[in-house]
C-alpha cells in the first residue's frame, strides 16, 4: 500500500481543522456513513464530516438495533447536511456535490439522496424502493402471498407489518422534514420507517463504522478494529488539542463570529461624532500626552562614539593632530539608542455598560496615547470587543429550539474590531475611532476570548516587549450565555485566559472604571471618574515602557 502523499495528509489536517472549527466544541462521536476523516478528499466530504460533528445527536442513535442503525445514520446524515446547508451557502454548495455523480446503486444511497431532496423541500428525482415497490403495488399474487404469510406467522413474527410503499416512505420523510431542528421528534417520526427498511433489506443493510465506534464509546458492542479505532483516537487527539477544551470553555457556534477592521461598521455619522471628541477639553489630556512623550524621549539612552573621523570635535583629542603620527580621529558622534522595542495593544470593552462619558474619555485617551506612541516610534494596536447580538440573539433561539446540550457554552457571537493594527498609521485609521463612541446598548462583553485574541495577535509581533492594556468596566457578561451556563462560566474563562497571558511574556494590565475589574487582574488600576482614564493610561504606559525609571521612582 503506498504511503499517503503530503498533500493528502495536509488535506486531512485542513479537513480536521475545519471540522473542529465548525463543530465549535461539539463532540459528536464517529462520522457519517460512507465517510471518515481519511476519506474526506473533497470539500463536500469535509463539510459532511463537519456537519455531522456539529449537528449529529448521538443519543438518538442508541434507540436502534445494530441492523437498524445504518438506516438511521443515512437519514441522520441527510438531516445534518440539510441543516448545515441551510446555515452556510458555501457549505450548501459543497454538500450538493455529494448528491451528484453516478446513479446510486443501493437502496441506502438512494434513501440518502431522496431524504436530502425531501428535507430541502424538493421533489425527489428518483424512487427509493424500486425493486420492492413495483411488485407490491401492482402484482396481486405477491400481495396474496404476503397476506397468507402474515396470517401464518401472526403472533410469532412481525415482519409482515413492515410492508412499505414509496408513498409511505415519502410521507414519513416529509413529516420528518418538519422536525429537522428537533432530533428527538425527527427520530420519533422515522423510527417506524427505519424498522421497516431494516426488516425489508436485511441482506442489504449498509455498514457504518461510525455506529460501531459509538457503541464502543457507550459501552455497547465491540468496536470496529480499523476505522473505529481511527475515529476514536483522532477525535480524542483533536479534542485534546482544542483550545476551548484546554480552557474548560465551549462555544455553541463560531459561525456568526466577526473579526474585522472597524471601518466595516463605521459610518459617516460616527466620523461626525468623532468631531465631538475634538470639542472636549483636551488640554489636560494633551498635557499628559506631552509628559509621557518627554518621559519616553528622556529614556533614550544617549552615548558618545569617540575616535571618529567626522562628527563633533572632541577637544580632549586635539593633541593627536600635532603628534608624531597625526590622525583625523579626533571627532565624536552622539548616538541615541532606540526607544524600548515594544508593541502596545490597547483593547477596549465596547459593551453596553461602557456608555456615554466613559466611551468618550476612553476614545480621547486612546487617540492621544496612540499619537504619542507613534511619535516615539513605539508600535501600537487598537482593538475593540463586544458581541454581535444584543436582545435578538439568533444563537440563543437556535439553542432553545434544539436543546441538544444542557450547557451550550458561549451563546452569542463575538465581534472583534481592529481600529488600528501595529503597521497602520494612525492618521489613516483615526476616523474609524468614531465607532468607539457609538453606544451599543445591550451588547455584551466576552472578555476572555477578546483578551485571548488580542494576546495572540500581540504574541505574533516581533517586538520583544509586549504590553496589553485592557480598558473595561466590569465582569464579562452575556445574558444568554449566563442563563444557559451560569454566571460563572465567562468569569472562569476570563480568569483562565488572564492566568495564561500573565504567565507569558506579555505584560497584561487592566484599567477599570469600577472596582469590579480588580477581581480578575493582577495588575489593575481603578479609576473613579471617566476623566481619570487618560491620566491613568498615560501614567501606566510610561511605567510599563520605562520600567527602570519606575523602579527608581518607586524606590
Amino acid at each position: 500500500m503506498p504511503a499517503p502523499s503530503i498533500d493528502a495528509s495536509r488535506h486531512v489536517e485542513l479537513s480536521s481543522a475545519w471540522e473542529r472549527t465548525y463543530a465549535a466544541g461539539r463532540k459528536a462521536p464517529g462520522h457519517p456513513p460512507d465517510l471518515a476523516l481519511g476519506k474526506a478528499t473533497t470539500r463536500g466530504a469535509a463539510d459532511a464530516l463537519a456537519a455531522w460533528r456539529r449537528w449529529h445527536a448521538p443519543n438518538q442513535q442508541q434507540r436502534f438495533s445494530a441492523n437498524q442503525r445504518p438506516w438511521f445514520d443515512m437519514l441522520e446524515r441527510a438531516r445534518v447536511e440539510t441543516l448545515a446547508s441551510a446555515e452556510l451557502p458555501g457549505m450548501a454548495s459543497n454538500l450538493a456535490t455529494l448528491m451528484t455523480g453516478a446513479d446510486a446503486k443501493s437502496v441506502s444511497e438512494r434513501l440518502y439522496r431522496v431524504a436530502r431532496q425531501v428535507f430541502a423541500g424538493q421533489n425527489p428525482t428518483e424512487p427509493v424502493l424500486i425493486p420492492l415497490a413495483v411488485p407490491y403495488e401492482t402484482a396481486w399474487p405477491m400481495r396474496l402471498i404476503r397476506t397468507w404469510n402474515k396470517r401464518k406467522h401472526k403472533g410469532t413474527e412481525r415482519h409482515l407489518d413492515f410492508v412499505l410503499t414509496e408513498s409511505c416512505l415519502l410521507q414519513a420523510l416529509q413529516e420528518a422534514a418538519r422536525h429537522l431542528d428537533d432530533s428527538q421528534a425527527f427520530t420519533d417520526g422515522l423510527a417506524e420507517l427505519i424498522a421497516r427498511l431494516a426488516e425489508l433489506h436485511r441482506a442489504e443493510t449498509p455498514s457504518n463504522p461510525a455506529s460501531e465506534a459509538t457503541d464502543s464509546e457507550t459501552g455497547g458492542e465491540q468496536e470496529h478494529p480499523d476505522s473505529g479505532h481511527f475515529a476514536n483516537t483522532s477525535l480524542a487527539e483533536e479534542l485534546a488539542e482544542r483550545d476551548d477544551m484546554r480552557q474548560g470553555y465551549a462555544v455553541f457556534s463560531r459561525q456568526w463570529d466577526e473579526e474585522f477592521p472597524a471601518s466595516r461598521w463605521a459610518t459617516p455619522q460616527d466620523t461626525i461624532a468623532l468631531r465631538g471628541l475634538d470639542r472636549l477639553d483636551r488640554r489636560r489630556v494633551r498635557q499628559l500626552a506631552h509628559r509621557l512623550q518627554r518621559r519616553l524621549m528622556a529614556a533614550r539612552q544617549r552615548h558618545w562614539l569617540f575616535d571618529q573621523e567626522e562628527g563633533r570635535l572632541d577637544s580632549r583629542q586635539l593633541a593627536r593632530l600635532v603628534g608624531d603620527t597625526p590622525t583625523r580621529r579626533v571627532f565624536r558622534i552622539e548616538q541615541t539608542s532606540p526607544l524600548p522595542d515594544a508593541c502596545v495593544t490597547l483593547l477596549v470593552d465596547q459593551s453596553g455598560s461602557m456608555s456615554g462619558r466613559r466611551r468618550h474619555m476612553a476614545a480621547l485617551a486612546i487617540d492621544l496615547a496612540v499619537h504619542t506612541l507613534e511619535t516615539c516610534q513605539i508600535r501600537c494596536e487598537v482593538l475593540g470587543f463586544t458581541t454581535r447580538f444584543a436582545a435578538d440573539n439568533p444563537l440563543e433561539a437556535q439553542w432553545r429550539r434544539n436543546r441538544v446540550d444542557h450547557f451550550p457554552g458561549r451563546l452569542n457571537a463575538i465581534r472583534h474590531l481592529i481600529y488600528k493594527s501595529a503597521e497602520q498609521p494612525w492618521r489613516r485609521q483615526r476616523p474609524q475611532l468614531g465607532y468607539l463612541l457609538r453606544d451599543l446598548p445591550g451588547h455584551e462583553n466576552i472578555d476572555g476570548e477578546a483578551i485571548d485574541w488580542a494576546a495572540q495577535r500581540l504574541s505574533r509581533r516581533p517586538e520583544p516587549h509586549k504590553i496589553l492594556i485592557v480598558l473595561s468596566d466590569g465582569a464579562p457578561y452575556d445574558k444568554a450565555t449566563a442563563q444557559a451556563n451560569g454566571r460563572d462560566f465567562l468569569e472562569r474563562h476570563l480568569r483562565h485566559i488572564i492566568a495564561e497571558v500573565e504567565s507569558s511574556p506579555i505584560h497584561l494590565t487592566a484599567i477599570g472604571t469600577g472596582q469590579d475589574v480588580a477581581r480578575f487582574y493582577q495588575h489593575v488600576l481603578t479609576v473613579r471618574q471617566p476623566e481619570e482614564v487618560a491620566e491613568t493610561l498615560f501614567e501606566q504606559l510610561g511605567d510599563l515602557l520605562i520600567p527602570g525609571q519606575t523602579a527608581r521612582r518607586a524606590s
Partner: protein, 646 residues
C-alpha cells in the same frame, strides 16, 4: 483602621497567592497607608492599613507567632488599652511600643475565642491556629467594623468587604433574595446571610469558628433586655450618664490628626460635640464641627414638627467653646442625591438606605479630608442610647395599671406644653397596646403610612410570593411600625436592624474613621438598663439627656419644640434629574432581574406624577423621598450585584 482578608485552602493545597494579592488590591482603598500579607502553607492573610491612632504607626500585621502557632489579623481600635495591659501583665514601657493589633494578639493568645469579651472598641479580627487547623473570627458587640466570610468544600475565606471575596475564582457576585427582600422592607438583618448569595457575615457580638472544616457560631455578647439598674435617686442616673458619656467620648479621641464632629443641632450630635469639645479644651486641642445646611436662600416648607435650618442651634453651641471651629456647609445647588450613587454603592457594597443624606455626608467627608481630619465623630446610635425618648413608658404604665403615675406625667407634660390636649395622648398611650389590625385601620383612616407598599418600592407580586407579612412576623418585626411598649427589646432590635459596619468602612476611603461615642458598649448597656421613668419626666421626653446636658447645651437645642430635618431641600434638584432617572428606570426594565424585585411600574408612575409642591406632607415624603429614591438606590445595587450591559 485596617481592612483584612484571609484565604485558607481546606484541602491543604498550596495557597493561591494571586487570589490573595487580588483580595489585597480590592481592599487597598480602605487602607491606603500600608499593605502587607503573610502566608504559610495553605493559608494566607492580608491587611491594608489606614493609620488613624498614634499607635497605628507600630502596626506590623499580619501577626504571626511561631512559638504559639498563632496568626492574626485585626481591624479596629481598642478603647481599653490600659485595662488590657494590666490584665495581660505587660510592662507599660513595652506596651507603649505596641499597636492595638499586638495587644489584641496577646489577648487572643491568652483567652483564645473568649478574648473579644475583654476587648472594648470597634473591631473585627481573625485568628488562625495552623496546628489545630482552627480559625475563629469575631466582631465587636455593635458591629462597628464589618467582616464577611465564604466557604466551600476546598476554600474558606474572610474579608472586611464582600468585594474582596469575589476575587476568589468560583465565587460569582449574585444577590441573596431573602436579604434583599428584608432590606427593601426595612426588616432587621437576621442571621448571617449578607446581601450576596453565598457570602455571610460575622454578626455583631458573634464568634464564628472553623474547626477542622466544621463551622460553629456563638454570641459572646448580647444586650440583655431584662437587665435594669436601680440607683438612689434621679440625679444619680444623671451623674452616671455623664460619667459614661465622658468615658465613651474620651476613648474615641485617640488620633494622630485633627478631630472633627458632626453637629446637626440634634441632641445626639450636639452632646457628642459638646463632650468632645470640653475634653479637647482641657487638652488645648481644637475640634472641627460640621453642620450641613440647605442651600443658601432655601425657604421651602417642611412638616410643622420639623425645622429646616439646623445652623441656629449649632452656632449657639459652637459659640460656647473657643476650641471649636464651626464649619457650615450649604448644599451645593447643583448637587443631587443620585449624583454618585453608583460610586457609593461600589464603596459600600450595598445600597445606601437614604440617598438624600449622601449629598451632605459626602460634602462633610470631602471637606474634612481636605483638612487632614483623621477622626469624624457622630451620634448615630444616640436614639437607642442617650436620647431615648421614653415614650414606651406611657403604655407600660397603662399595662401595669399605674394610673396615678400616668396622670402625674400628663400633668407635667401639660404644664410644659399648655396646648397639649388629652386626645393627643391617646395615640402614644394606647396604640402600642391595641391589636395590630386595629392599629393599621386607624392609621389608614388617619391617612398615615401603614402599608409596606407606602414606603417600600418592593414588587407587590414578589412580596406576596415571599409572604412579607409572615416573614416579618417570624423575625419579630412589624411592617406597619406599630409602636411597642417593650422599649428595651425594641431598641435592641433596632440596633441590629442595619449592619453599619460597611458604612464605617467606607469612611476609610476618605482617609478617616467614623467614631460614635453613643455606640460605646458600656454606655449602650447602661442606657438600656436605665429605668424608663428616667427618660420621660419633668414634662420632657428624652429627659435623661436633657438633664445631663443642662447648662452645657444651649436652650436653642435643649428647648426647641421641633426636630431638625436632614436635607430639607432634597427635592429641589431632582426635577432636573428626572430625565436621568427615567433613563435609569429603562435600564432597570431591561435588567434581567430588577423587575422581579422592584415595583418598576410604581416608580415610573411616581416619576410621571412628580409633584411641584406639598413637600411638607408626610405622604408625599414617603412616596417620593423614601419609596422612589430608595427604589432607585436598590435598583442601582441590583445592577451592581448582578451586572449586565443594559
Amino acid at each position: 483602621m485596617s481592612a483584612i482578608a484571609g484565604l485558607i485552602h481546606l484541602n491543604n493545597s498550596r495557597l493561591d497567592r494571586d487570589t490573595l494579592h487580588r483580595m489585597q488590591s480590592l481592599l487597598t482603598p480602605y487602607g491606603r497607608d500600608a499593605q502587607h500579607s503573610w502566608h504559610q502553607g495553605c493559608t494566607g492573610f492580608t491587611r491594608t492599613l489606614l493609620r488613624i491612632t498614634p499607635e497605628d504607626s507600630l502596626d506590623q500585621q499580619p501577626l504571626w507567632h511561631p512559638g504559639q502557632q498563632l496568626a492574626m489579623v485585626f481591624d479596629g481600635r481598642l478603647d481599653n488599652r490600659d485595662e488590657l495591659i494590666t490584665q495581660l501583665g505587660i510592662a507599660s514601657s513595652r506596651a507603649a511600643q505596641m499597636a492595638d493589633s499586638e495587644l489584641a494578639f496577646h489577648a487572643c493568645a491568652r483567652w483564645d475565642s473568649e478574648a473579644p469579651l475583654h476587648l472594648l472598641g470597634d473591631f473585627a479580627l481573625a485568628c488562625w491556629q495552623p496546628r489545630r487547623q482552627r480559625l475563629w473570627m469575631a466582631r465587636d458587640a455593635l458591629g462597628m467594623r464589618p467582616l464577611f466570610w465564604y466557604q466551600r468544600d476546598d476554600v474558606f475565606a474572610f474579608a472586611t468587604m464582600p468585594k474582596a471575596l469575589f476575587a476568589i475564582p468560583g465565587l460569582t457576585k449574585g444577590l441573596c433574595e431573602e436579604s434583599l427582600h428584608d432590606y427593601l422592607c426595612l426588616m432587621p438583618m437576621s442571621g448571617p446571610q449578607s446581601l450576596y448569595r453565598d457570602v455571610y457575615r460575622v454578626e455583631p457580638g458573634q464568634v464564628v469558628e472553623l474547626d477542622k472544616g466544621k463551622l460553629n457560631k456563638r454570641y459572646y455578647f448580647r444586650f440583655d433586655p431584662d437587665r435594669q439598674i436601680q440607683l438612689g435617686n434621679d440625679d444619680a442616673y444623671v451623674e452616671a450618664l455623664k460619667e459614661q458619656l465622658e468615658r465613651a467620648t474620651a476613648r474615641r479621641l485617640r488620633s494622630r490628626g485633627p478631630i472633627a464632629s458632626h453637629l446637626s443641632s440634634g441632641l445626639d450630635s450636639s452632646t457628642v460635640t459638646a463632650e468632645a469639645g470640653r475634653i479637647l479644651r482641657e487638652r488645648d486641642a481644637p475640634l472641627l464641627a460640621y453642620t450641613a445646611a440647605p442651600r443658601k436662600g432655601f425657604s421651602g416648607q417642611v412638616h410643622r414638627q420639623r425645622h429646616a435650618d439646623e445652623t441656629v442651634g449649632a452656632k449657639a453651641l459652637a459659640g460656647r467653646f473657643a476650641n471649636i471651629e464651626h464649619i457650615i456647609l450649604h448644599r451645593d445647588e447643583a448637587a443631587t442625591p443620585l449624583d454618585d450613587l453608583h460610586e457609593v454603592i461600589e464603596q459600600l457594597d450595598r445600597a445606601p438606605l437614604n440617598a438624600c443624606n449622601m449629598v451632605w455626608e459626602k460634602a462633610i467627608r470631602e471637606d474634612a479630608a481636605r483638612r487632614g481630619v483623621k477622626v469624624l465623630l457622630n451620634g448615630n446610635l444616640g436614639n437607642m442610647s442617650i436620647s431615648h425618648d421614653g415614650m414606651p413608658y406611657l403604655p407600660w404604665l397603662i399595662a401595669h395599671g399605674r394610673w396615678l403615675t400616668l396622670a402625674k406625667l400628663y400633668r407635667q407634660l401639660k404644664e410644659r406644653n399648655p396646648n397639649l390636649h388629652w386626645r393627643r395622648m391617646v395615640r402614644p398611650c394606647l396604640m402600642p397596646l391595641v391589636p395590630n389590625a386595629l392599629w393599621r385601620a386607624r392609621e389608614r383612616s388617619q391617612k398615615r403610612t401603614a402599608s409596606l407598599f407606602d414606603y417600600s418600592s418592593i414588587n407587590p407580586a414578589w412580596s406576596r410570593r415571599v409572604n412579607s407579612e409572615k416573614r416579618a412576623r417570624r423575625l419579630g418585626f412589624d411592617l406597619s411600625h406599630q409602636p411597642s411598649w417593650m422599649s428595651r427589646q425594641q431598641r435592641i432590635t433596632t440596633l441590629y436592624r442595619i449592619d453599619i459596619g460597611e458604612y464605617n468602612a467606607s469612611t476609610n476611603l476618605h482617609g478617616m474613621e467614623d467614631r460614635d461615642p453613643t455606640a460605646d458598649r458600656e454606655l449602650m448597656a447602661f442606657c438600656l438598663a436605665v429605668p424608663e421613668s428616667q427618660y420621660l419626666g419633668g414634662g420632657h421626653t428624652k429627659w435623661l439627656i436633657r438633664r445631663a446636658m443642662q447648662g452645657i447645651l444651649p436652650s436653642e437645642i435643649l428647648d426647641t419644640p421641633t426636630r431638625g430635618i436632614q436635607a430639607p431641600d432634597w427635592h429641589e434638584n431632582i426635577e432636573k434629574l428626572l430625565p436621568q432617572m427615567r433613563q435609569e428606570l429603562e435600564k432597570l426594565k431591561a435588567h434581567e432581574s430588577a423587575g422581579r424585585y422592584l415595583d418598576l411600574e410604581g416608580i415610573e408612575q411616581a416619576l410621571r406624577e412628580w409633584p411641584t409642591e406639598g413637600w411638607d406632607d408626610p405622604r408625599v415624603e414617603a412616596r417620593f423621598r423614601l419609596r422612589l429614591l430608595r427604589g432607585m438606590s436598590v435598583g442601582g445595587f441590583i445592577r451592581y450585584a448582578e451586572e449586565g450591559n443594559e
